[in-house]
Symmetry: C2
Subunit: 503 residues, 2 copies
């Protein structure tokens, strides 16, 4: 029996949920369907929904309702759904009420503007055209941080938006460990010969589409509840557990872009589709942790998609759909090519091993930018020099350097670390899944992905945001985020790829 | 110089606009993109936006702002933009504040539900499965009417939502005149032989798509600002003057469905795209009058699309895109087939002449249902008997009878008349356009549609909802809605089609 205040609170929160979902529909449409000239009015529409949502979530009325609901929780265990729900509502309310609505709206608007400026500047490879928008977005992030005072490190404030409860100091420690484990591994393997030619055949896009449809079907894509569309910068969004939208993009001479990109987004989609339906329209129904979210996409993309076993399932499908271009492909050749360690300038094309260093670089740079230790004007130089130092690659132009990512243009600061932390968590979950599902390899080789999906649903997905990241990890893997399992996973796999003893 | 209250009012109204546009995006997505299982949560999202919009538009705060703004209008001429804007805001506010928010939300929700019930009931041809939803929707319409008291006829209230300022008595008079002009014309021509076979060739859908793209291009479809998508029940929607969404559907063996359907929706789109950009985000930027809206779609579909001159432009395109199926087609044969008078059971497939009687029947039936003179159970029988009486056709099943239209399932009562009134207005505008653009026929024959489009933009589109229907008509054609020009147009055209002296 829930009390009347909890019921009233639920109704208020359900409306907030609807507003946020409506906003997500507008954003999805903008990225997939909207004619280009629709952009400026769309920015207004999104800003208005953002304003209304922020006004409501920060309102005194909501605060009073939360207080009254808290009064109805006496005697309930601390992990009761109502307790979690009210606590999450309190947490989000306390954050939002510190942020003036005008600042929230300004951030939304500047995100739309920054994005538009970035698209043009990147196409022109002109950092100076982007500098102003970047400056404005970082200034707004600083204004946002200034609304808070309960942190050890200013960066904690933005990190908490994407990895609730995680601290900068913890990320720094993890990243230091990750960096020192990855750099020697990359130095050892980065030059060794691997035949990459299977990845660069001309693979007709129509065939790639059929390939992607087939693989997503194995993963659990349900046409009655899911869509897949083309976009420039792939993402996943969902508007309910039975309305999941994936996007991908196709490159004629690099099929992994679409294939692994789609598996990645489908991993996100399975997470959102797997949340218990009765958490919908509550704050527990949205996945707050980008880190855990990313663990799901990475697990499907890398642990499953690039495994030796699944490469065995992929190979016949690749041969069938590539219209003769991949005749004679051997699973082993695919496995080696998709796992080759190849330091490069572009994050989203990076292999699983070098990827982490791309993130470490961004984390270090955005902290220095925020702290004012680095100016926007100095950023390209700093970017290029870290790329050389950590990855040993020379950046030929800003388009393939500092301009490559969309995030900063939209004021997304504190987001990048979750990509690498997601990789770490994915490896921890993968260890656990392998222990719990003894014939997992045989299933992957046979593209029977249902048992793994159901294991993830049971362990992770269905809980939505019911548990904090530490609580969830503690339940599933018995401890906090660690670097070890990820490095073990890499060394084991790369040992097979390179026929070396790395474990 | 606008005063501070007007400025504040503008900001409030702009947010209301954004909310309504966001709602329209959600509805468009629902009809074109959404996976079927997304429906129930989408209904919640739309209901929440509807609730927030209604709360705001009916709020005391908005009323006070409008009052303050009215105080700043002294000395301005009655057709000044600010005067019109504040007056339209007042009109809409006064309507909305009479309607309790719970009733507005209930109507939105029951519309979503009724639609879903109707889709199934129509597919099954089972009126009894639909009766409950129809009952509930009509009950909510009655509850809505009961919120008002300043009418001559209860039907005035719903009519005013779609044809502001128009009265039931006026529609009754127009429809009586229309009915008595159409029935003898149909009786005289309905049996005469016309070769309809060109319309029923197997026309590959890929070719139909190219044909439609080409014709919409002539009309002014701009891919940078417009989209065309497939749907089951075609409609047009727009989210700004540079974000216009058309939909159509394709029938393999009846190309006019897609071709004329797309021209119809494009006519709507040109209207919304043609509104002066500075009226956006004000109440004058939305077209309130479905009657004038329909005059635009009908003008393009019928006056242009089915004219002898434009059939001359269409014929080579039809031959080119039909992949051999229409080789040897003559413009005259096309002109005769697309204008043949053929009484039939389905409104949306009706020819321009019989169409009006389909509307008269619906107008009579919905008034009797509202008044309680007819029960939902008696409706199918009454429908079939009027179809026989007015059009001489026997309805074989409810699927092609009372279940054919979506409107009542969504509580849209008072909407149907605007279709026929739109035809009347279209003919009045067409007379005027022919007088103002002397070589119009030559332009149509050469698919130069720009001058007509610009004439309509200048006379009608750019004003948005700045003028009431009577004011607008008075400006452009010098008088109120009339039946005469429409009947003259038909008699002239049908005289050519049937080679008779009908004028």
């Amino acid at each position: 029996m829930t009390g009347p205040a909890i019921e009233q609170l639920r109704m208020q929160l359900a409306e907030l949920w609807d507003l946020r979902r409506a906003c997500a529909v507008l954003q999805w449409d903008q990225s997939t369907m909207m004619p280009p000239l629709g952009a400026s009015q769309r920015a207004e529409q999104i800003a208005t929904l953002e304003r209304i949502a922020h006004e409501r979530s920060s309102s005194d009325r909501l605060g009073e309702l939360i207080g009254a609901a808290e009064g109805e929780l006496d005697g309930l265990p601390s992990d009761a759904m109502e307790v979690r729900l009210v606590a999450e509502a309190r947490r989000l309310h306390e954050k939002d009420r510190r942020v003036p609505v005008e600042l929230a709206v300004a951030r939304s608007r500047e995100a739309s503007r920054g994005y538009a400026v970035w698209v043009k500047a990147r196409a022109a490879g002109d950092f100076s055209a982007f500098a102003g928008a970047l400056e404005r977005n970082f200034r707004l992030v600083r204004d946002y941080i200034a609304c808070f005072d309960d942190y050890e490190d200013p960066y904690d404030v933005v990190l908490d938006d994407f990895a609730p409860g995680m601290r900068t100091a913890q990320v720094s420690r993890l990243f230091a460990e990750l960096r020192s484990a990855l750099r020697p591994l990359i130095a050892e393997l980065g030059d060794r010969a691997i035949d990459m030619s299977p990845l660069h055949v001309e693979f007709p896009v129509s065939g790639q589409r059929r390939l992607v449809d087939r693989v997503l079907g194995w993963m659990g894509f349900d046409p009655a509840a899911w869509r897949l569309d083309d976009t420039v910068h792939p993402f996943e969004s969902s508007f309910s557990v039975t309305d999941v939208r994936l996007t991908t993009r196709y490159e004629l001479s690099h099929f992994p872009t679409a294939l692994y990109g789609a598996m990645h987004e489908c991993g996100h989609g399975l997470y959102e589709a797997g949340v218990a339906p009765d958490l919908q329209r509550t704050p527990l129904g949205t996945i707050r942790s980008s880190a855990v979210h990313e663990s799901q996409s990475r697990l499907w993309e890398n642990m499953v998609g690039r495994s030796r076993a699944f490469c065995g399932a992929l190979t016949p499908a690749l041969i069938e759909h590539s219209q003769g271009r991949l005749d004679g492909l051997r699973p082993d050749a695919l496995f080696r090519a998709v796992n080759a360690v190849r330091p490069s300038t572009i994050r989203i094309e990076a292999d699983e091993t070098t990827y982490g260093l791309h993130i470490v670089i961004r984390f270090e740079l955005e902290r220095r930018l925020l702290a004012g230790d680095l100016s926007v004007a100095e950023l390209p130089e700093a970017w290029n020099s870290l790329m050389l130092e950590y990855l040993g690659v020379r950046v030929a132009s800003d388009a393939e350097g500092v301009l490559q990512d969309v995030h900063w243009s939209e004021g997304l600061v504190g987001y990048f670390p979750t990509y690498a932390i997601g990789n770490l968590i994915a490896a921890q979950l993968w260890e656990r899944a392998q222990a719990d599902i003894p014939d997992l390899d045989a299933q992957l080789a046979d593209h029977r992905l249902g048992p793994l999906r159901e294991w993830l649903r049971e362990q992770v997905h269905r809980h939505g945001s019911r548990y904090s990241d530490p609580q969830l990890l503690d339940r599933v893997v018995g401890g906090p985020v660690e670097v070890g399992p990820f490095i073990n996973h890499l060394r084991r796999k790369l040992g097979e790829v390179y026929e070396l003893d790395l474990a």
